[in-house]
């Protein structure tokens, strides 16, 4: 039981780290190079402008849906899934 819990938490922990790494990329890394990437055009928008207006925002939405689905899988695998009420 205890080891199952530990394994579950370990996986949860890794998922959290991965999620936050992607988050870090879209919220900070991109904007460290705002000036450099702004010359590139996406849909006609300068790239840094686009990421700030839509791109990163959409990435966050997708990221949370993805990671919550992934976490559910982890919970099910270890028998911690909740019965739907």
């Amino acid at each position: 039981m205890a080891s199952n819990r530990e394994a579950h938490w370990e996986k949860t922990h890794s998922l959290m780290v991965l999620t936050l790494a992607i988050w870090f990329f879209f919220s900070m890394v991109i904007f460290m190079f705002g000036h450099e990437i702004n010359g590139i055009k996406f849909l006609g928008y300068p790239l840094a402008y686009y990421m700030s207006a839509q791109g990163s925002l959409a990435a966050f939405v997708i990221l949370i849906f993805w990671s919550s689905g992934k976490q559910n899988q982890i919970d099910e695998e270890h028998g911690f899934g909740e019965s739907e009420e």
Partner: protein, 612 residues
């Protein structure tokens, strides 16, 4: 008409409501066509929507503790997402954000990234675990995880400080809208706003606030999106503006280069008699300045808003209302989706508004035209009359230059429909949307404060033997008192001194972020550490605010960390204090460690019982 459980009927109920609201909008358009005055339409829009919220509020009345504090934990995932989105998007998001982008361009858009990215932290670090815990309020978690009233009280202190900074701005916004569209003085408008806010929350607490917030979200998103799509279609910018304004963004950059972005000197602005609070365009719309300092300024603002989001109690408490841990996690995703719908539209609105004014080839354009001609335009006349817009002919050539056109940022959202020549019904709709946004956030904030005071201070510390009836009476009494205090301060128009909305985020992140996160993710965190983290974080953050704050000592910011970003030193101090003090004192007892283990597993009973 509706059989079965209330929550099973929600899609039907809110579907009918949305349809009804659209029919109401059409009816207003019809009335306008038949010569009903603009003022009457504005009043009808506000009165009708507020009446609906009040009816929902009264129908959701309750005398049960868990219904009052956490809506009985039966709010379905998607609906909780909508309620959170309304809770989140304040009058500022609705009215001021597009205006901020209009003037600040890329630099201001750090707020967009900050106010959405924070939800990644909420979903992976906090929401599911706090839901598992089963707490009623955020201090409830701190008080139980770390044990003792001292920790609980510190959490209440941070909560009250952060939420109250935020709430006066919201009541202020309801007052502004009520006074402008109902034609009453601002001082009265504030109290009308408060009355409507309390009608939604007083009888049913969290349950009533939840169901009104869903209704408010529907109104505010319709009111925000319709004008954007309408203008884009009407002026031929594209069917789906979000994907088709690239050329307009480039065109704005070209026009900026052509007109030149001139900075006016403060003396020149003063000499020309420009009313206070108006801005002019002097920052590039999409251009990004080079250099590490500029990048750091953008990122540091985003960090403050993100970490602040994950520490704001009125947002976290929305995830206590879902039926399960899984649904709490999913609900964060839906919240961000609904928020995203408005936030990715705000830059488009700013772009449309800017190109309409700047481009001389469009008939809406005013820059580069003779001032005499511009002054004769109806909407320009109206906004100049109320001192929300101004023209100062600095170079005396009789032609309107880019740096000679002044307008209040808030006006961008409110006036864009008029600029583009849309019917007044749309302006009424926008007013109803702004009201919905301000009311829903104010409701959530006032409830967060009153619940912390009634549940954590009154019930847990002062009178643990109080029965349910007494607890709920105290909770409601506090709701009225907090609301009245907020309205009183708003009516004195002190908000300039009380500071920016951003401060609420900085206060919350300074005091609460690490005690909350480490409470789940670091077993070794103990009571002494948490108390040190909260007090030292809040203390250092506040001290730094006083040091750089323009209304206080106004010292030069260190490394560009100005008064909007004081959460950075605050949260850093909080982290260091918490780790050092926790390690220097005894580790938490076995029972607390078991509690943390239990929180990390989604299934099983919550830590705190259903009614506590």
């Amino acid at each position: 008409m509706f059989k079965g459980k209330f929550t099973d009927n929600l899609p039907k109920i809110y579907g009918t409501y949305t349809g009804g609201f659209l029919v109401f909008c059409l009816l207003m358009a019809l009335l306008e066509k038949n010569g009903v005055s603009a003022k009457t339409i504005g009043i009808l829009f506000l009165a009708f929507t507020i009446l609906i919220y009040a009816i929902i509020g009264v129908l959701s009345r309750t005398m049960q503790v868990d219904a009052y504090y956490v809506a009985g934990r039966e709010v379905p995932t998607v609906f909780n997402g909508m309620a959170t989105a309304a809770d989140w998007m304040s009058g500022a998001s609705f009215v001021a954000m597009a205006g901020g982008i209009f003037y600040g361009g890329y630099v201001y858009m750090a707020f967009l990234v900050g106010w959405t990215g924070g939800y990644v932290l909420v979903s992976s670090l906090l929401a599911p675990y706090l839901r598992k815990f089963g707490c009623y309020t955020v201090p409830d978690f701190i008080g139980t995880r770390y044990g003792g009233n001292a920790a609980r009280l510190c959490a209440v202190l941070v909560l009250v400080l952060a939420s109250f900074t935020y709430v006066t701005a919201q009541i202020n916004a309801t007052g502004t809208i009520a006074s402008r569209f109902l034609g009453i003085p601002f001082g009265v408008g504030v109290w009308v706003g408060l009355l409507s806010i309390l009608l939604c929350s007083m009888l049913g607490g969290m349950r009533a606030v939840t169901w009104t917030q869903v209704a408010q979200y529907i109104v505010l998103i319709i009111a925000y999106l319709i004008p954007i799509f309408w203008i884009s279609w009407k002026d031929g910018f594209g069917i789906f503006p979000h994907f088709q304004l690239g050329t307009e963004v480039q065109r704005i950059a070209a026009l900026e280069a052509q007109y030149g972005l001139v900075k006016n000197s403060a003396a020149a602005i003063k000499a020309a008699g420009v009313p206070g609070g108006l801005s002019y365009i002097s920052t590039p719309h999409s251009g990004v300045a080079p250099g590490a300092m500029n990048a750091w300024k953008y990122i540091s603002l985003a960090i403050c808003m993100m970490v602040g989001t994950a520490s704001l109690p009125h947002i976290l408490m929305r995830y206590f209302t879902t039926p399960s841990v899984k649904s709490a996690r999913r609900s964060v995703a839906w919240s961000l989706f609904f928020i995203f719908l408005l936030y990715f539209s705000a830059p488009m609105l700013a772009t449309l508004s800017k190109i309409s004014l700047l481009d001389p080839n469009l008939k809406t354009g005013i820059i580069g035209k003779p001032i005499k001609e511009v002054m004769a335009i109806e909407w320009v006349k109206q906004w100049i009359a109320v001192k929300q817009a101004y023209i100062a002919d600095f170079n005396k050539d009789g032609i309107l230059q880019l740096n000679e056109w002044f307008m209040r940022g808030d006006v961008v959202v409110l006036a864009t429909p008029e600029m583009a020549g849309l019917p007044y019904t749309i302006s009424g709709l926008v007013a109803a949307g702004g009201m919905a946004a301000a009311m829903s956030t104010a409701d959530g904030l006032i409830l967060a404060i009153a619940n912390a005071l009634s549940h954590d201070v009154y019930y847990n510390m002062i009178n643990p033997k109080a029965d349910v009836a007494k607890r709920l009476i105290v909770a409601r009494l506090l709701l009225v008192v907090i609301g009245a205090l907020g309205a009183y301060i708003a009516s004195m128009r002190l908000t300039g001194i009380l500071g920016a909305v951003a401060w609420a985020f900085d206060f919350a992140m300074s005091g609460l972020f690490f005690p909350l996160v480490l409470g789940v993710w670091w077993k070794r965190a103990n009571r002494a550490g948490a108390i040190a983290g909260m007090l030292i974080g809040l203390g250092v953050g506040t001290a730094y605010l006083v040091y750089v704050g323009p209304a206080f000592m106004a010292k030069t910011p260190i490394l560009g960390v100005d008064h909007l970003r004081f959460g950075i030193p605050g949260a850093l101090a909080s982290l260091i204090a918490m780790v050092v003090v926790s390690l220097a004192t005894k580790e938490p007892d076995a029972e607390t460690q078991r509690m943390v283990d239990e929180v990390r597993v989604p299934s099983g009973k919550p830590i705190l019982s259903k009614a506590h």
